[in-house]
């Protein structure tokens, strides 16, 4: 794919596509574009690593192209993120169209210009869509997809598919309007915020607190309509509109006019903004923002709605794409599972908390079960293996960033039980960090009691146990804990 423009938005796109395994050719007139984009990618990589345990694909390659034509040659998808000047964008798109393959789709990152205008100079305007992302592009799922008068619906669908492939949640707009949907909402709030500073009602910092300590917490998972529906109580939305509708007519807000950005007002905002930032550099603020976004996205993942659903779907695809699970095992060959130690796993001793070792062992057990055919369908049928006993030994400490390998040996099988032995190694040195011996019991999850495993998993487990029968019995298996040992 090709990127035109390497500002904040273009750099964010580069990070998202590269980290998703796409090769990216980028053009920007700024000779320093390569260095700037590399910095954005590095920051984004840090955030992605802490966002998911799913195996990320091998990163794509970034090529800085000397010209627009060189960038788009051979690209099936071109994302334009040039400055917000209509004529400039029109010219870039018209040039790109000539140099790109005939079936390429063109997307503009514009936050306000109409696609009907942007496609005006194109020979084949049906290929142009708006694909409007939000900062930081590599973390926020939203991208507004909007076609112009002459855009083919197929182009919107293809752009949406591309965005989904890099973990985004495209919102297909039903009508072309200036500013699209999200920016109109932001703009409305921003105007009101500017009035409040202009009228000295509140400072930048106070206004931001009014958002993030209150309604902003709700908006991370629930928009205005659902929030107000709940506020209507039992009687719902109609009641809410009847109760609070009339307030819309009150002379509350200053929205009937636009504040003039005088030098005095600009100076005041800049001063209040400096105070609010209290010496933090843009990079520090960006990292803070990204860390908090990752934390919020992870929190919502469990809820499986909104951004949480987008993250979960993305992880499922990453897992499915990685899918090394079905690879056959040779006799005497251990199963392998990989992980990495995240910064938040580290406790006051400076290394991973003991429970995180068991988390990784649990993941390795899940990988074993998946190989035996315990999938969503099997679980839905009411069968599952539960861990009933675990014996961990610790040899060395795992530190933040360590790459981990778990090797798994199936020690024994009966109709209800699996006896498993894991070893946890630091890569690439192959230092042994810990071991876990586990007994798993097959249960009927509806009845809540032990039950014979299904024929499929049982056969697969016996085959694997046979393949592992020739392996040495692990030194740490079958041992008890004794003080006088």
């Amino acid at each position: 794919m090709a990127l035109l423009g390497a500002g904040v938005i273009g750099g964010g796109w580069a990070a998202r596509f590269l980290l998703s395994g796409w090769d990216v050719r980028l053009h920007d007139p700024d000779p320093d574009a390569g260095r700037k984009v590399a910095a954005v990618v590095e920051n984004a990589r840090r955030a992605w690593r802490s966002l998911t345990l799913a195996p990320l694909p091998a990163e794509g390659t970034l090529t800085i192209a000397g010209s627009l034509e060189e960038a788009v040659a051979g690209a099936c998808f071109v994302q334009e993120s040039a400055p917000e000047r209509e004529q400039l964008k029109q010219e870039l798109l018209a040039r790109a169209e000539v140099a790109a393959p005939p079936d390429a789709v063109f997307a503009s990152s514009t936050s306000g210009l109409r696609p009907s205008r942007l496609q005006a100079e194109m020979a084949r305007p049906e290929r142009l869509v708006v694909g409007h992302p939000f900062n930081p592009v590599y973390l926020l799922p939203l991208v507004e997809v909007c076609g112009g008068e002459r855009t083919a619906p197929e182009s919107c669908r293809r752009a949406a598919a591309v965005y989904r492939s890099v973990g985004m949640a495209p919102l297909l707009l039903r009508r072309e309007i200036d500013g699209f949907v999200a920016d109109r909402l932001m703009e409305a709030m921003w105007r009101e915020a500017l009035w409040m500073v202009a009228d000295d009602v509140a400072t930048a910092s106070e206004i931001d607190d009014a958002i993030r300590l209150g309604p902003g917490l709700r908006w991370s998972f629930m928009g205005v309509f659902l929030t107000y529906r709940i506020a209507g109580g039992e009687a719902g939305m109609r009641h809410f509109l009847a109760q609070f509708g009339p307030a819309l007519q009150w002379p509350w807000t200053r929205l009937t006019d636009v504040p003039e950005l005088t030098d005095e007002l600009i100076g005041r905002i800049v001063e209040q903004s400096d105070e609010q930032a209290s010496g933090r550099s843009p990079e520090e603020l960006e990292r803070e923002r990204d860390d908090r976004l990752v934390a919020v996205l992870q929190a919502l993942r469990g809820a499986q709605a909104g951004a949480g659903a987008a993250i979960r779907d993305w992880e499922r695809r990453l897992l499915a794409d990685a899918a090394p699970n079905g690879r056959p095992v040779a006799a005497g060959q251990l199963l392998e599972h990989r992980a990495a130690v995240l910064p938040e796993w580290v406790d006051y001793n400076g290394h991973a908390h003991e429970s995180r070792y068991l988390q990784v062992f649990g993941d390795a057990t899940d990988a074993l079960l998946a190989r035996l055919g315990i999938d969503e369908q099997y679980l839905a049928g009411g069968g599952s293996y539960y861990t009933v006993e675990s014996h961990l030994t610790h040899r060395r400490e795992a530190r933040a960033g360590d790459r981990l390998l778990v090797t798994t040996q199936l020690l024994g099988v009966d109709e209800r039980r699996l006896h498993v032995f894991h070893s946890l190694w630091r890569e690439p040195e192959r230092d042994l960090l810990a071991t876990a011996e586990q007994m798993l019991l097959h249960v009927d999850t509806q009845a809540g009691r032990a039950a014979r495993a299904g024929d499929g998993p049982l056969t697969a487990a016996r085959e694997l146990a046979d393949l592992h029968a020739g392996l040495e019995w692990p030194e740490a298996a079958g041992r008890a804990i004794h003080l006088d040992g």
Copy 2:
């Protein structure tokens, strides 16, 4: 304290104050108020339990008063949450003032009426402030505190102190304006959202997605000013204003007018809202909202800014108020540690992931070590206990929300090692869920090798082991894992 009004807001106040240990006297003309408030408190209790592991204080007592006068008699703080009618509120406050003690502070929950108007009929208007909270009152930290022309600054300070004591983050407004700060921002966005439905640009569900998948995620921890400062890149706020300021003049939004709520528009919004709710009852939506708020608040707690800082400060106060750690143990008495199963601990089997049991056992071990004198100073001196072996057995599954008790027995001590046995119970039933036998090794953390423990911890450990010497040896201790066992 006294509450006037038991609607959505009044019920939320009742929950927050009761759960914080305040006795509450409430009056509402609705004869069903007691039942409604009890339901809100029950829901709030569920959320608070999953929000923190810190020990919550004993709940206060709710008294439903037969009259306003009976409710406010003897109350040092009166929170009024009657319907949004100026005259009604003026009358209630004037009556309450007569019946309450002379030093009582009166706060109105109004979201739009000016305190200067509300205090108009009061004999001692200096005692009246606005304390405007947000839904759900028991979870969102924000409360806008605003005085009127005749309010004493001391009343604002006293109200803010009361709100802080129940875990809120009061925002003291510098000027009295209709709608205060947060509602003005919400109102601006809401007007724009209504226009988009009226113009058929987007549906309720699409607008909500445009918020929660994009900018709304940021607003949970960062308001508009700091967000835009980052968008300005290296050049900061001045650059952002120069770049995007002119766009304010574009005819983007419909904010220069107010949409008329015709029957047709109301019908359309109600229909789209029903579709969005897809059959979920108000109670279900409330629970979803609360669960996600709890998850987001917990996610931000680590960041220690915005709502995260409010939650952290609240927990510190709860812990300081509880502080039972140093309590001496009697002979034969097990140590106790309490925890609760958080929603995010639950895996695909519907119960807590096995690693979370070890996390709780690890916390119980930390509590044991703290009791032996392993504090920050000891750790800074280069000594610590590391877990070298753990043997877990699982009996029953822990589910989200379960209250857990860990009892800890010190089985043995030598110069370098502690032999520990934990049992994990579900409260209040005292169902045994799991056990953990652990061997801890004292290490010289600088040298990275085993070393004799310091005299203080060693003496304390031997004393505790003596106190536990008479206890029965746990049935699950000293066992090994065997398939043919």
